[in-house]
């Protein structure tokens, strides 16, 4: 059975990493667990140096070293344990998609400061939003995807250890020309890769390839293959024909660029990289900036906290710098053993505490969720569906009440949006305000989004997790400054929707238009929100749909 192209590419990446671990820094592997990933995992053994497996819950003590509590207590003097950072190693981070930003930042710092460490990320994320932290992926040269490979198409075909050794020895003497740098840089720019690490890493990859093939100099083929290995996962755009047709780019720098760099970007190189671009590139573009942290604190979700919140029973554990020692619980655990321990160590004064006695404080923190309802009470929707909408909101309110969520109500009609109910848990008040909501007038959608945004930011500052339920037909016809201009209003709405998206907060757009139209779906896409057409159905169905859409 011949190896599949994706597998061959993965092994190629691994070979390069084995040749130049210090320059390429590491590799991101995106694959679900399975036999193919296992085969790749086994092939990792070809990399030089010791390997350490780490996981996203790694503590500071394990990473940077700290007091070894057990040894310290038994010896009666301070004994430090070395952290992973102190000995150069290949760190294999499993379940990388669950890495909290704090650990990502520390690992990034470690990579920046110590040339000897390499990092391999095992990213098991399912959807595009769930991925390893960009701070880390950015620093690692290689990116490998192993989905849809049959097990028998994945033979372990790594070069012999002696060959790798020779290539490693050749590496420092590989020459490259200044044009190579220019080509790789221009190519990165044409794929919209802003970071300057990318061309730099590609250059290192090209040199490793040349070393492997025993070239004295980096060849065109080496460049092409390096670009194929390093660029596809970073690309944010497809190369455009350099014609000054783009309306937003001023033509001057465009021309300047062409005159300064005559024969690049290279068609051949572009074609090679473009062939390897993930098919859903454009989908990813919209999401790349908005990678939700998979291990984040969900809306109103419970989370274990080390510092604040409702106290939970203390648990035994080693102080790792995050939790705090619960003195009472520790003493209580040690108390029954004192006579026994005293008999073995009569000379030791005071309470004899063993490492196993130490208890840590734990808290349960719980972020309150705030559901902001923005209700379109304009003429266009009022005539058709306002009554239905009110019914739906009332049901949602009841739901919110049972989950102890806070609710806020924004109504928009006529010239602007009003916050008719600031965040509250008072359901009755919300119902009353909603009941008295008059309908009619224009649709100032942009103003409504602005009001929701302000409220969301304020509530975030108060430690709430805001979510937005926007009930509208999305036919905006009032601008932000209150003029009736449909084109201008649509533009304002788009701007505000993008601002909302930038906040990366969950939202749902409920389409309450009388006739189906494309606007609500477009609005939802701009806001990175879910779109839910409100069918002519009972309000209860909407309520369940909203609850599930908002992650309840």
């Amino acid at each position: 059975m011949t190896p599949s192209p994706a597998w061959a590419r993965a092994l190629r990446a691994l070979t390069l990493l084995a040749i130049d671990p210090e320059g390429l820094r590491g590799l991101t592997l995106r694959a679900r667990a399975g036999p193919v990933r296992q085969a790749f995992d086994a092939a990792l053994a070809h990399l030089p140096g010791p390997a350490r497996r780490i996981h996203p819950d790694l503590s500071d003590t394990q990473l940077f070293g700290g007091a070894d509590i057990a040894a310290t207590l038994s010896a009666g003097r301070l004994i430090r344990s070395a952290g992973l950072a102190e000995t150069p190693a290949r760190l294999v981070l499993t379940m990388a998609e669950r890495t909290p930003p704090a650990l990502a930042a520390r690992l990034a710092q470690l990579l920046d400061q110590s040339q000897k460490h390499t990092l391999v990320l095992f990213d098991e994320g399912i959807d595009a939003e769930e991925s390893a932290p960009q701070t880390l992926c950015e620093r690692l040269a290689l990116h490998v995807t192993l989905d849809d490979i049959r097990h028998d198409a994945a033979p372990a075909l790594m070069p012999a250890a002696a060959d790798l050794e020779e290539a490693r020895a050749r590496l420092p003497n590989i020459q490259h020309s200044p044009e190579d740098i220019a080509k790789l840089t221009a190519l990165a720019a044409s794929f919209g890769i802003d970071s300057l690490r990318a061309p730099w890493l590609a250059l290192r990859a090209a040199r490793a390839l040349a070393a492997l093939a025993a070239h004295a100099q980096v060849t065109q083929d080496d460049l092409r293959e390096a670009a194929e290995l390093v660029y596809p996962a970073r690309a944010t755009q497809l190369p455009q024909e350099p014609e000054p047709e783009q309306p937003d780019a001023t033509p001057e720098p465009e021309e300047q660029r062409q005159s300064e760099t005559p024969d690049i970007p290279d068609e051949l190189l572009i074609a090679a990289v473009a062939a390897l671009l993930p098919p859903a590139l454009l989908d990813q573009l919209t999401q790349r900036g908005a990678t939700r942290r998979a291990a984040g604190s969900g809306a109103g979700a419970r989370r274990k906290a080390h510092q604040r919140g409702r106290p939970l029973p203390a648990r035994p554990g080693a102080p790792d710098g995050r939790g705090r020692i619960d003195l009472i619980a520790t003493l209580r655990a040690a108390a029954p053993w004192q006579p026994l321990r005293r008999s073995t160590r009569p000379d030791k004064p005071g309470v004899i505490i063993h490492a196993a006695d130490i208890h840590l404080k734990r808290y349960e923190d719980r972020a309150d969720r705030l559901v902001i309802f923005a209700v379109d009470a304009s003429g266009s929707s009022a005539l058709a569906r306002l009554a239905e909408t009110k019914g739906a909101v009332e049901l949602l309110l009841a739901e919110a009440y049972s989950r102890r969520d806070q609710v806020a109500l924004i109504a928009f009609r006529g010239m602007g949006a009003d916050l008719i109910l600031p965040p509250t848990r008072a359901l009755v008040q919300a119902k009353r305000r909603l009941g008295g909501l008059p309908g009619g007038g224009g649709t100032p959608l942009a103003a409504a989004l602005g009001a929701a945004l302000t409220l969301a930011q304020q509530s975030q500052a108060h430690g709430l997790s805001p979510t937005l339920a926007l009930l509208t037909d999305a036919r905006a016809n009032i601008t932000l400054d209150g003029r009736g201009d449909r084109a201008e209003a649509a533009k304002d709405t788009t701007t505000m929707a993008r601002l909302w998206r930038a906040q990366n907060l969950p939202a749902i757009v409920i389409d309450i238009s009388a006739r189906p139209g494309p606007e609500p779906a477009q609005l939802a896409a701009e806001m990175n929100a879910r779109h839910l057409p409100l069918p002519r159905a009972d309000a209860r169905r909407i309520s369940t749909a909203v609850t599930s859409a908002l992650g309840g």
């Binding site: 320059g23 007091a67 509590i69 310290t72 207590l73 009666g76 003097r77 301070l78 930003p101 704090a102 650990l103 930042a105 520390r106 990034a108 710092q109 400061q113 110590s114 040339q115 960009q134 701070t135 950015e138 200044p178 740098i181 840089t185 221009a186 990165a188 720019a189 802003d194 970071s195 300057l196 690490r197 061309p199 730099w200 250059l203 720098p253 300047q256 660029r257 300064e260 760099t261 900036g289 080390h306 510092q307 604040r308 102080p319 710098g321 995050r322 020692i325 004064p349 005071g350 505490i353 602005g450 500052a461 430690g463 932000l480 304002d492 701007t495 505000m496 601002l499 930038a502 990366n504």
Partner: protein, 334 residues
């Protein structure tokens, strides 16, 4: 650890480099905030700055890098030595750091092994008289931010916990960097930074190629590369030292003060911190460039740095804040 990439070898990014030099001349400016895309050399610049800064004189063994033996706090148990020259401390404040590590706390190890109540100084003590660098500052947890704000404001770290009552000097220059895509910074913290810089990847291909070329030269033969650039670095260091001593004598005429005020009113900056920072930064720049008095030309150069993060947010103005400042300057001063 290998030698840091030399400061003067950083291609372009003139605003960022200028802002960092200004804080080195005038620590009272209140630090720099560097916001920008990934891979634009933010951390490289900060680490390079550490190597560039002139050394400080301190008492050996002092946990807070004290200048005189009598400044060392009484809780310090380490033996004090002679006066020594040390590189200016640049302390990294990692994300997810605990309060204990920042402020210092009860030394658990000594408490457990020796039964002593001792204070273990934290990062704030180490950063005294130096720099505190926060990467990904916008992702820092709120309670740490509150704590930093308080200390940065008062210049003193007060610890009241676990039966300890400790205070020590903590004067440092805050340097923050972050990627705006990942979250906004709280306005209170934003205001505490004296200068702010927005960095982007160079858009000019030639410039980008030069970056890669220099990086390549640095990695291939670090020693030769350092030898080439260290002279440049030394030049900047000498200019910083000269500017520090000249800073007191730089004049700021009344019409310059008036210029500061009119500009700040025109852009609607809250409070008077804007004017003060603008003036101080301009004075530091004048000292750096060897001029006797602050002029409007100096103001023009530093205004985007000192004011761009003090603007009211205007969601509909597509132009960046630096562009708005430039517009205001043209309107006010012509």
């Amino acid at each position: 650890m290998t030698a840091a990439f030399p400061f003067s070898a950083i291609v372009g990014q003139d605003d960022m480099k200028r802002a960092m030099i200004l804080t080195a001349i005038e620590p009272g400016l209140g630090g720099v905030l560097v916001f920008g895309d990934r891979g634009t050399g933010k951390s490289t610049a900060v680490r390079a700055l550490a190597a560039l800064l002139p050394p400080i004189r301190m008492v050996e063994g002092s946990p807070i890098n004290a200048e005189r033996p009598e400044d060392t706090p009484d809780w310090s148990t380490a033996p004090l030595g002679e006066m020594v020259e040390r590189p200016t401390p640049v302390v990294d404040l990692p994300l997810g750091v605990t309060e204990d590590r920042v402020t210092g706390a009860l030394d658990i190890e000594r408490a457990l092994t020796l039964g002593e109540k001792a204070f273990q100084p934290g990062l704030l003590a180490r950063a005294n008289r130096g720099y505190l660098y926060i990467d990904e500052v916008n992702l820092l947890e709120d309670h740490i931010v509150d704590l930093l704000l308080d200390v940065a404001q008062s210049g003193e770290n007060v610890v009241e916990r676990e039966g300890l009552s400790i205070r020590h000097a903590a004067r440092f220059v805050l340097v923050g960097s972050g990627n705006p895509e990942e979250g906004e910074l709280r306005p209170q913290l934003l205001d505490r930074f004296g200068l702010s810089v927005e960095v982007r990847s160079p858009q000019n291909i030639e410039e980008r190629i030069e970056v890669i070329r220099r990086r390549d030269a640095y990695e291939r033969d670090t020693d030769a590369f350092m030898a080439t650039w260290q002279a440049e670095d030394a030049l900047i260091r000498d200019r910083i030292l000269a500017a520090r001593s000249a800073l007191r004598t730089v004049q700021s005429p009344d019409d310059v003060l008036r210029d500061c005020a009119t500009l700040c009113i025109a852009i609607g900056a809250d409070g008077l911190r804007g004017e003060l920072t603008l003036l101080r930064a301009a004075r530091a720049l004048a000292a750096y460039e060897g001029d006797d008095a602050v002029t409007r030309a100096h103001l023009r150069q530093v205004a985007p740095l000192a004011l761009s993060h003090r603007l009211r947010r205007d969601p509909l103005d597509e132009a960046g804040s630096a562009a708005r400042i430039a517009r205001a300057m043209t309107e006010v001063w012509g």
